[in-house]
Amino acid sequence: MSTKYIIKRLFYLGVTTLVVSLLVFSITQILPANAATMLLGQYATPDALEALEKKLGLNLPAHEQYLRWLVGVIQGDLGDSLRSGLPVNETVFLALGRSLLLASFSILGVIFIAVPLGMLAAINRGKKVDFIVSFVSYIGISLPEFVLATLLLVWLSHPEIALFPASGYIPITEDPILAIWHMALPVITLTVILTAHIMRMVRSEMSDTLQADYVIAARLRGLSERTVLFKHALRNSLLPTITIIAMDVGYLIGGIIVVEEIFAFPGVGRLLIVAIQERDLPMIQAGALVMAFTYALSNLAADLAYVYLDKRIQYE
């Protein structure tokens, strides 16, 4: 794969992140309530306010504030939380780690459930299996995460049933089984919804591929159905599926925010919600930036994987 292409994509990633940081920063800077006022309360004296503003650098013009922040970010310093006073770094990255754990389990679940089911539906197009898969996926894509999460809570965490805990977090290093048990419901919620989306995509891609000329030609060469399905159809359908999985990281991020809130899971999504409620600017900026960057990174990874696997583009 040409280095030129990689460099180009990395360059775009950089530009995108920069623009995102600008957006995030400018959005949060328009907040009506001044950070200093929030910290000191509404009865603070003007002098005290001024002093704090100077300390926080809030009296500098907007673009200077942005640059200061940006320089800090590049050096790894995302500022201090307005609430706790502690550096945002640790909190955010710790939370990110936990969210990634959640995300990884969900994606694994998706790969092992959605892809085979989608394939099955495409191969048996028009038959019962296809109908069931389609039916289930329609419901899956029409249910917001919070509805499913809440319903699961009601059905599975009901005090009388108590199959799974309603919330809580145990670090996976402490007690893996207990940790997974606590993560079960959030992961199930995310997996179900993501599966619905990806199942549909796989079905649609595979359907298209199965009607392609080269598949028909392969059949007419007398190749076994298994060869046709796996070596021809599936292989070519997986390529676009990779892109779709990357795009679904976007759904995942949105879903994680909601799911972590409902299950009180201390990931970066919950961090963000809390930060928004408390108007903790640096935390909001850091959280949003980190999430957006993760998304952009996953898209980049998918692009590179796609190019690596699709020989046609590689040739270009």
Binding site: K4, I7, K8, F11, A212, D213, Y214, I216, A217, A218, R219, L220, R221, G222, L223, S224, T227, K231, H232, R235, N236, L239, L309, D310, K311, R312, Y315
Partner: protein, 690 residues
Amino acid sequence: MRKKPPVLSVNNYSVSYYTANGPLRVLDDISLNIYPGEVLGLVGESGSGKSTLALGIMRALHERKTDESGEILLAENSLTVMNEEDLKGIRGTRVTMVFQDPGGSLNPTMTLGEHFVQLLDRHRNLDVNETKAETQRLLKMVELSDPDMMVNKYPHEVSGGEKQRVVIALAFACDPELILFDEPTSALDATTAINILDLFRILQKKTGVSALFISHDLGVIREIAHRVLVMYAGRLLEMGRNDELFTTPKHPYTRALLGSLPKVGIGIRNFTLNTIPGALPDRTITIDGCIFANRCDFVMPSCRLGEFDLKGDSIHKVACPISTKILDTKSVSNSVNSVNSESNKNFKELLIVNSLSVHFSRPDIIDRILNREIPTVHAVNEVSLKLRYRETLGLVGESGCGKSSLARALVGLRKFKGRVSLGDQKIDNINQINGAYRKRIQIIFQNPDLSLNPRHNIATILSRPLKLYQPVSEKKLQKKISELMNRVNLPNRLSTRFPYELSGGEKQRVAIARALAAEPDVIICDEITSGLDASVQASIVNLLQNIQRENGVSYLFITHDLNLLRFIADRVAIMYLGEIIEIRDIDKLGSPPYHPYTEALLSSAPIIDPNIKCRKIHLKGIIPSRTHQIPGCPFETRCPRVLGELCRKERPETQHIGLNHQITCHLDIKKLEAVTPIWSKQITDTTHAN
């Protein structure tokens, strides 16, 4: 050959598709036999059902959507009653198929070698080494150079001709009894197609395989088939040995079909082509009597009743009881509707193109930053030509030669360098093109499905140029639209219709009318007949000639069909890799001197007339990439008459011979004049070299 039992036996085979409007009868009681070692050609226009027959033989028609009856036997085994398991064993081994689009049959994410591995694995149980060896043997058999390299290549890395060879190799891999070809050369360039046909002929002789060769191109069928079947709207109308059928066709349809084709060998600039009036019948309705009756010149009341089967002897059968009555001694030639037109050699020059170049480049941000050389495609390279008043200049070349880019540059769709003079107007770059220029030079595109806005009805489409160039009142506008439609023989009731409701020929007429609306001096026709059936093509060409006679328009007629050009062009310019290598008069097309590429191109035009023999030239070599400036002659890599270093290093000069002839070549004109002519008359009616 007749004593051995047939390899393929189709008995009373019929197919109907279930559609929203009821069952559509695609094939009607088809019976045919193919004998060992025989190539049976199946000729039919689009919509005749020939592809359905091929898929039916392979048992690949969609179960739920088709209704089949009749029997198909492969040697003694009945394919129609076989189950899927057994059929899988037969496909790829005893019967194989070659499709039209070579790229389509190959999986784009698989190497060519892998295709062989899968096939050989499945059917022949060879180990790894044996498979490798066998793959190499097969690739060599289809004359692919560098089989070791080929094995690791992907389909998009090789040319169309090479892909088709691979597909043919796959078809021969398991020593089949029968190969089905469905338009295998239609998507290829003429010079490539002829190589593929020759390859198949050699292989067929060597292996003795039988084949069903389907094509709409009568010339190709003539080249390759031993016997020929003519199909129309799902029924067989005539069957005969190759020479028999082409020398003395018996069915009115066959005769009309042959009559609508432009022929080689005679200067026939002012003849009109015969056309077949009417259109294909609606096959959702059962049709009594002869299926061709509605379009037949010789129809009689008895033609509309009863069944019409193929009748005759083993050499020639026809499904027309009155064929003997209508067979006159007049051979199948084009009608003598010659119209006197003055020689236009003395007309003034209208359009002068001087050193026109079109380059495509896609600069990257990275390239710009690093200041690197930007990959540029030199689509058109310093082309000069002249077009006179009332003249048709043909522009010929194979795919990728730059003719479309040239056309688009001339109408202001592409940036160019160089100069274009239209009458008094001089244009040096695209920004100088104004309304006055645009009005005088119009373009018609190849595919009317794509060149007519699907959301505009015909009246809207035609009103636009009228409004732009000759604004008139509403009432007058309607009248003008009506006149335009009459001019191109379109009924007025179509003005409220949308493009998808019209046939291919009708759509193209709309496109012609649209160009005419501006009352231009020049009309550029970019492959406008390429997607059309022979008879529709003929009517379009006749129309264009008519318009030229009455309105005095000049045409720049782009096509890859040399035979067609003879009917419409006065002079022809031949393009290769973005350069014009020869310009000459049409009426002397058959006589040397020729540019070596012209020679090869002419030899690839299929000959139908049994009285004409053609010298064959095969081009070998690779076409150079167009991203680099070629220092010498672009044709050097494939030229059979190449002189060596000179051709590679130095640009050839343009040599002028006589008034209207120029050749751009290093070879001496005297040497080129001494070359034997491409076409010669055959004295005896020898059978085609089978």
